[in-house]
Amino acid sequence: MMSLKQHSVLPGFGLTMGFTLFYLGLIVLIPLAGLLLKSATISWSQFFAAVTEPQVVASYKITFGASLVAASINAVFGLAVAWMLVRYSFPFKNVVDAMVDLPFAMPTAVSGIALTAIYAPTGWIGRWLDPMGIKVAYTPLGIMVALTFIGLPFVVRTLQPAMEDMDKEIEEAAASLGATRRQTFIRVIFPTIMPALLTGFALAFARALGEYGSVVFISGNLPMKTQIVPLMIMTKLEQYNYAEAAAIGVVALGASFVVLLFINLIQWWSRRYAA
């Protein structure tokens, strides 16, 4: 660390580094280490049996599938929202801008109950969808709706600064060199905001994986059909089976880690490609 310090021109490296390590250790690493230790109190075969139970496997599929769909939806429509907020000015723009943050601010249970009330067969939207044979609440579709709701701000808020930083000149140059609007978007704008879009996607995805509060209200929690991974952890805890709950937690953590790593690799690769 000493040698690192010497290379830095800014003062205060030692203090901030020490604080960062202490803080991350206290807030992130110690709880995670506890999770690993707890899951290590059972044997490998028990661990394996717990994390490969049919109901648990079904819940991985639901959680990862719905999170992926929700994050993808947000990537597309979040991009449109961010685009509109950055590029145009219109009355009450600030209000619309602030509305994007609502899913951040609302207690998740409140959003879950609100979404269920709206999408249940008797709700405002559900009553129109129900005759068409579309059931949202208490189906995997409902889970996706809830996860899309909570993930939206992550995409919009990471895209906005990247879009604002974009130089108008580049687009003008592209246009004056004869690029069509379509070409300008695909070849010039999109590569620039791609890293931010991927980050937003990754954040929304990671957030969706761990979401419990809003989903349990809208999902219906039917075994094999609409049980999410955090609910499986809760059912283990209800049986006072801390070790197996931790085991599922470790698997979920490992899987999200791999996914995030993968996305970071793409990002790194796309940056290199862009440069």
């Binding site: 349990v216 805890l237 049986q239």
Partner: protein, 356 residues
Amino acid sequence: MIIRCNAAFVPYCVVLVAFAAFCGCARDAGPELLNVSYDPTREFYKEYNQAFVEHWSKESGKPLNIRMSHGGSGKQARSVIDGLEADVVTLALAFDVDAIRRKAGLMPDDWQSRLPHNSAPYTSTIVFLIRKGNPKQIKDWNDLVKADVSVITPNPKTSGGARWNYLAAWGYVLKTELGDLARLHDPDAADAVADAHSKAKEFIHEIYQHVEVLDTGARGSTMTFVQRGIGDVLLAWENEAFLSIHELGPDKFEIVVPSISILAEPSVALIDKVADKHGTREIAEEYLKHLYSTEGQTLAAKHYYRPRNPQGVPEKYMKRFTDVKLFTIDDVFGGWEKAQAEHFDDGGVFDQIYKP
């Protein structure tokens, strides 16, 4: 020594002062009692605590402060196991209280026999809440599996109340098959008993085919049924069903009491190690004992719990409770620990219903 007052230290000073102020506030007059309870007892204990504080200060001349914590029964038990310093717990089922003994050893093995009636001063049972006029003609357990009936009950893996629902339905089949539940303990009837159990399993299987939403807790199911308008019948605690009708008007819902149901015994217990540490054993013991007094029983009945000693409880409260044949979990299922392992633990009977 001079303390150099640097701007950078200001936030720390603020935190320290705030912390000191917080500690100061926590020091209050008189001893304090923490009662960790489950969700539907909120209104009952609010009133009981007031009554008990009055009772206690009259007896001892000392002030007393009672704090409450409410939540799902299992979650509350886990909080106590993980270190929430409850002097007493008043949970939904003996299984959760016993978990505190098994996992944390905070009280002796015989906790349940220290107070009368299995340490359950008030009881409840499982009834049906149906829509006004009973459009689907639901009168007893076997009506739940009629073709067009939709049933609402929480997930027994996460909800204590749902476990009572499940066991009540199971007991109904045993009763109809055997005629008399006493035959369960008759060695000569072993074949008939085994047969009845497999019939019960089929019946439970069929009921859950009529369930399209499994909320995580009893309150969630009540909301699904009452607010969302989903389902024809809600399997509910009697006290929750009464509360729904009381809050939402008797013009929308009715209670149907089935021919037989389970005696739900929400258990109360002193957490010895915590109470001894706080020096509150005497108060805590009296707090629980007073639940059995006429005053405690009357308040329980007022909040729709069935009192254990109805003598002295005003008739206006008692007449709410329909007479119904009730069986206990110890009698029919051999206690919570056994029922939990057989039916609700992973791989148990409930999981088999949803086996692909």
